[in-house]
Symmetry: C2
Subunit: 358 residues, 2 copies
């Protein structure tokens, strides 16, 4: 398969939210998708949603796919990689688990073929779970981490990168240990920090009247703490050392602030600087990006097709807003990109037959 070519045949193993969303996104790009899940009713539901065709037994699926996407929790990836490689279902294998060192180590222990294995992690999710929550646009404009091992072949990396882009995502490459430090910083430690603040609200002596003073700030800070404690304990345990390092530093800063409250401007300045480094999407100054406007018909798959063009042109989508008048059959997508990439996107869209302007 040539580099940057979207795989034509993909097997998705595990039809939960992420697996089904990958399948739906690829179907929208015309990819042939096969579905498998230990829970046959889950795969059947995903099939009913148009996500692909269910296959009951992987042992009957030799050579069925160019790429197999293993969409399951981190601790289950190693065994499934071993089983699917034993059945030779695909040329290239990837997973979508939220930590990367653990599944990679397990794959190594189990003697899996590492040349064809590309650990991956799309940064997307929803509150809801299961195939019914799947959405073709779940990865649009999101970051998808691709984390090759030293043994992983360049062709395998290219195939998984093309797959991620076909789903509308922007690819970032890192080794597995670096990835795990990154997600500890941007996801896992913030979850624990949010929980520790929220836990104060459940302390003895906190009255309902006190909580009536709560505003949007408290809600923002504590929102993620509403997540499932059992699921999050699994995630945090699978990435314990990088998370602990950050929590220690945060705890030390907070203890210092408690000690000398009049002297915490330095911490507040560092905090403001830190927030300012978070890129794109929300809360950003729109001046930083150029906006490309694209006329869109109101039909399913149109946005996915649009983001496919952007991905093929190697343009990162920083934000997207859809303007749509009720009852009017066409709308306008306003796509924010880095100014130096706006022309490339405009050219690619025009070449593909879209009506677009800056």
């Amino acid at each position: 398969m040539a580099p940057d070519t979207v795989p034509g045949r993909v097997l998705v193993v595990g039809t939960g939210l992420i697996g089904t969303s990958v399948a739906l996104a690829l179907r929208a790009r015309g990819v042939s998708v096969w579905l498998n899940d230990a829970d046959r009713s889950s795969a059947a539901l995903a099939e009913g949603l148009g996500a692909g065709t269910a296959v009951t037994d992987l042992r009957d699926a030799k050579g069925i796919a160019d790429v197999a996407v293993l969409a399951m929790p981190p601790e289950a990836v190693g065994e499934m990689l071993r089983a699917s490689q034993d059945a030779a279902v695909a040329d290239v294998y990837t997973d979508v688990a939220s930590v990367k060192s653990l599944p990679a180590s397990r794959a190594r222990e189990l003697g899996c073929d590492l040349a064809s294995y590309v650990p991956g992690h799309p940064m997307a999710g929803r509150e809801r779970h299961g195939p019914a929550a799947g959405r073709a646009d779940l990865f649009l404009g999101r970051t998808w981490a691709v984390c090759p091992l030293p043994e992983t072949s360049g062709d395998a990396v290219a195939a998984v990168t093309a797959l991620a882009r076909a789903c509308g995502a922007n690819v970032v490459t890192a080794d597995t240990a670096t990835h795990d430090q990154w997600v500890a910083l941007v996801s896992h430690a913030p979850h624990v920090v949010s929980s520790a603040m929220a836990a104060r609200l459940a302390a003895d002596g906190v009255t309902a009247d006190a909580l009536r003073l709560a505003g949007g700030g408290l809600r923002d800070v504590t929102r993620v703490a509403a997540g499932d404690p059992v699921l999050w304990t699994q995630i945090l345990s699978a990435n314990a050392a990088p998370v602990a390092e950050i929590l220690k530093a945060v705890a030390a800063d907070l203890a210092d602030a408690a000690e000398t409250p009049a002297d915490m401007t330095g911490l507040l300045v560092r905090g403001r600087d830190g927030v300012g480094r978070i890129p794109g999407k929300r809360g950003d100054s729109p001046r930083e990006f150029a906006v490309v406007q694209v006329v869109m018909a109101d039909r399913p798959g149109e946005l996915a097709r649009l983001f496919g063009v952007a991905g093929d042109a190697d343009v990162n989508v920083e934000d997207v807003r859809i303007e749509h008048s009720p009852g009017h059959p066409t709308g306008v997508a306003e796509i924010s990109v880095r100014p130096e990439r706006a022309s490339a996107l405009l050219d690619a869209l025009t070449a593909d037959g879209w009506t677009a302007r800056r």
Copy 2:
């Protein structure tokens, strides 16, 4: 003045965001409003916005108002209370500063009349500052803490309570020390915790690629850390002891979590329980509230008038959504209230001439 009667004449000293918004809200209820600010151009702008009539010198304003609202930072309240009581501008005085023990102590030190002083704090704000940012609906459905001192008269408390309700707010009463513990918990400590997490993003070695993995969770947790470090240092210094107590507890929980990461389910469960205690407004299950629908004309002050009726009927507004078709002159306000108060609201609205239904 009879209890629960909205003051007919109000003087607002300080025409920033909060002062101007109080003035606009009261003007919408037909209250006569006078405006004063050390910066005359600020008072003039507020006057130009229809917030009331500017008075240049408080010493010429003897007996001008039933209630004077001092809308300025905590450290300035005491002196202004002394000056305005010396000028005898009003029968009753209140302030809107975000901490209450500091201005109350200062007022006591300065020998102010405490019988006519009702410390207060509306829980509302915006990103923007100054009179131009003022909005008549800033306090709609928000909580307004009223914090009488032991010396404060019942009549003074009744007048300020009626004023807060006339602005559309729901009143909670607490002594000043309790108020300060409450805001430490729901606002000040969360700000520092958010900053401490955000500060990690500005640490050495954190790359732009790492931050490209940031999702909505990190943005939520760190959003308030974007606030002005100098302003927040003032706020935190004015409420140092209650904030320090909470920060110490959060730091201890985070240090424990770093020590035994596999054992943090307990913290996550407490955090989830804490989030679940935050009432109303956002993220709540809508089942908990009854929804009253009210037809609204598209003209200024309509919402303020609506909330005035709810306040007069002693109905707390838990949430409000406006449904409005573009180009259509009337909309529908969907008002969430506790189920047992829905009939009272419906009766009050109908008696006041509104078209309303459950």
